[in-house]
Symmetry: C2
Subunit: 430 residues, 2 copies
Amino acid sequence: MTDPARPHRRLAADLPTAPPGDLVLLQGWVHRRRELATVTFLVVRDRTGLAQVVLPADADVPPEETPVEVIGTLVANAQAPGGVEVTEARVRPLSEAAQTPPFELWRPHLSATLPVQLDHAAVAWRHPAQRARWELAAASIRGFRGALDGLGFTEIQTPKLVAQATESGANVFEVDYFGRPAYLAQSPQFYKQQMVGVFERVYEVGPVFRAEPHDTVRHLAEYVSLDAELGFIRDHRDVLATLRAALAGMIGAIEREAAAAVDRLDLTLPALPEEIPVVHFRDALRLVGAAEDEPDLAPDHERWLGEWAQAEHGSDFIAVEGYPMAKRPFYTHPQPDDPRWSNSFDLLFRGLELVTGGQRLHRPSEYDAAICARGENPADYASYLQAFRHGMPPHGGFAIGLERWVARLVEAANIREVTLFPRDLHRLGP
Amino acid sequence: MTDPARPHRRLAADLPTAPPGDLVLLQGWVHRRRELATVTFLVVRDRTGLAQVVLPADADVPPEETPVEVIGTLVANAQAPGGVEVTEARVRPLSEAAQTPPFELWRPHLSATLPVQLDHAAVAWRHPAQRARWELAAASIRGFRGALDGLGFTEIQTPKLVAQATESGANVFEVDYFGRPAYLAQSPQFYKQQMVGVFERVYEVGPVFRAEPHDTVRHLAEYVSLDAELGFIRDHRDVLATLRAALAGMIGAIEREAAAAVDRLDLTLPALPEEIPVVHFRDALRLVGAAEDEPDLAPDHERWLGEWAQAEHGSDFIAVEGYPMAKRPFYTHPQPDDPRWSNSFDLLFRGLELVTGGQRLHRPSEYDAAICARGENPADYASYLQAFRHGMPPHGGFAIGLERWVARLVEAANIREVTLFPRDLHRLGP
C-alpha cells in the first residue's frame, strides 16, 4: 500500500532540476551533520551525490552514516550545493544509529593509512573519491564488452576450477576437489582458445588467481582479467588493432558514463591514437640503451619507453612486439622470418605493462613440438589439444588486468587502492 | 601489406544480401563436403552461419573441421541455402588437415551420448544447435546487465577466495592459501550486501562454487550466478519487481540479439506477465495438498504450482513468498506480522526453482541476535557486520543460476548440456 501523502523518491543529482516548492523524499546516509547556533545542516548522501537539508538548531539528527529518509520542501538557495536545499523537513532513521566510522567520510580525502582503509573496506568505499575509482572500473568493463560486442564477439564464462595449471606449475592455488587436487585457473587462456573454434571471437571478464609469493604494490593473488581471443587473424597486429578498439571502448565509456567520477578525481583521460605506436623488442633494447641480449625490459626501461611514446607519438600507450620466444609461454607463435622472436606484444600504459597479447600457435604439430621442447608430454595436454587437432584457424588474443588499468588511470601508488577487497600474501579479508 | 586482389572477408549471414557476381572471401570451417559424380559441394561454417561453395568433382577439399579460406564468385541459386552460393572458388586450408571429429557435426542433431559430448566439449560446442544454447546464455547475461544498468545499478567484482564459508561450513571447497586454509565463495552474498552501503544497487555476474556431494542433473560444482542487491526497499516485493525487470531484460535480449538461436532451437520464449503472480508458502502448501507443517516444497509441488501459474495466470513464472524462517539463512528478514515466516521468496520457472531472493536484515542488533540464535559468535562475522554497524538501509536481493535458466529455457534434461565446461563430483575436465 502506497501512502498517498508520501512523495516519490528523488535522487540528489536530480534536485537542482526539480521545481522549487515541491515536496521531496530523499533517501540516503547522513554524510555530515553540522549543528550551528541557529540551524542544523544535514548533508544526505545517496548513490548520485549529496543534498543539503536545513533543520532547526535543536533538531534530532542521527549520527553520521545512519541511513535516513527525509521529506521536506525543495527551495532554491544559491549558497547551497547545486543551488537547492530541502527545508521544513522530517528526518526518519532507517536503521539503528550508526557507529562512528573509523575515518571521517565527509572530508575531501580519506586520511587513514591504507591498511586501515582495507580493514574497513565496506566503509572506506563509501567515500565519494574512493567510490569514484570503482565507477571508473565499472564503466571500463562495460566499455570493453560493448566494443567487443560491436565487433561480433561472444561472451563466455569458463571454469575456474581446473585439473592442471595453465602455463606452469608455479604460483597456482591448490584446491581440495572432492578429495583430489584441483587448481584455480591462472587465466582463461586454454578455454578462450578452444572457444575460438566455436565462436571465432570471444571475451571473458572474470577472476583469475595467482599464488604470488611477492608482496608488491602491483601484484594481487586474485584479480579481474579482461580477456579476448579471436580467430582468422593475419598476425598479432590484428590482435593489437582489436585491443585498441577495446581500449577506445573503455575510455569512451568512462567519458560518457563516469563523467562525474572523472571530475571528482580531476583525471586526464589517456591519449589513444588511431594506431598504437609499435616498437620491436630488439629496437626497444637499443632505444633504452640496454644490452642486445637482455631477455626482458626492466621497469625503468618501460618507464623510458612510456615517456618516449608520449613525446614522439603523443600516445599514453606503446606496444613492444617481438619479445624473445624463450620468455613467452609455449603456445606463442614465433615471428615467421626469425623464430628467435615472437608474434607477441606487451602494451605499456603510461610506462607500465598493462596487457600481454599476441598470436598463438594453431597447427597441432607445432603444439606437439613446443610441448616436447619443454620436456613435457603432449598427452598431458590432450583435452586442450583436441581443439587444434580438430581444426583451429590462426588466432590470438590479449588480457588486460582491470585493477592495473584503474590504478594507472588514477595514478594510485598501490593496486590495492583500486581493488574492492584485495587478496594478497597476507590479506584474505574482509 | 594488403593484397589488392584479395577481397574483404564476408560473413555467411551477409551473403544473401551481397550483389551477385561479387568476388567474395569466406573464412570458416569445412562443415561438410559432399563429393558427387559431377560436382563437389563444400559447406563452410563461420560464426554467423553456413555458406555453400560449388567445386569441380575432382576438387581437393580438406576434411571436415579444417579451417579454410575460400575466394570465389557469388551467384544466385534458388536451391542453395540462403539463395546464393559461391562458384569458381579457390580453397586454401588455414591449418593442417583436421582429424575426424568424434561425432558428425553437420547432422541436425548431435548423436553422441552426453559423456562423449562433454569429453569433447571444444568440438561438441561447434555444432550449430549446441552453440545456439550458449548464444542464449550470452544474450541473457547481456540483458540482465542492461536492465539493471538502466535502473541505476553498479557492477561489482568481488573476491572468490574468502576466509570463511558464506552460509554454512558444508559444501565448501578448501584452498591452500599460502599455507593456511581459505575457501571458494559459495555466493557473493556478504560482499554484495556490503556494497549496497556504497552504491545502493549492485550486481555481479560471476562464478560460484558448491562442493555438491550429489550427482544430479540439476547441480554443478561451479556455476555462473547472476546476483543483484538493492537498498532502500520497503520489503521483498520491491526485490521481486526488480527481478521481474531483470528477467524482462534477459528475455528481451534473447528476442533481439539471439533470434537465430531461438529459431534454430525452435523455442517458445517464456510468458512473463507485468506482475509475477505471488503465492504465500502457507497457501502454496494448501494448494498442492501438502501438510501445513511441511518445511519445504517437494519437486512435484513445484511442478504443480508451475502448471497452476500457467493455467491461472498465463505465466511461466510464479513466486512463492514467506518460506519458513527455520529454512532460510540467518540474514533473512522475517515477515513483520508473523516471524515464523520470512520476507523471502523462491521464483519457479516452468515449475522448477530458478531464483532465491528476499529482504535481508539490516539492523546490527538483529544480526547479533540471529547469529547467536544459531549458536555462533557475532565476532566471527566482524568484518561483514561492520557494514551494518556503520549504517545499512533496508535492502534485499536475489540470485539467478545462469545454467538453470538456460536449461529450463531449452528444456535440457541435464544442466551439463548447457554448461560450457561443467564441473561436478566426477568431472574436472576438459
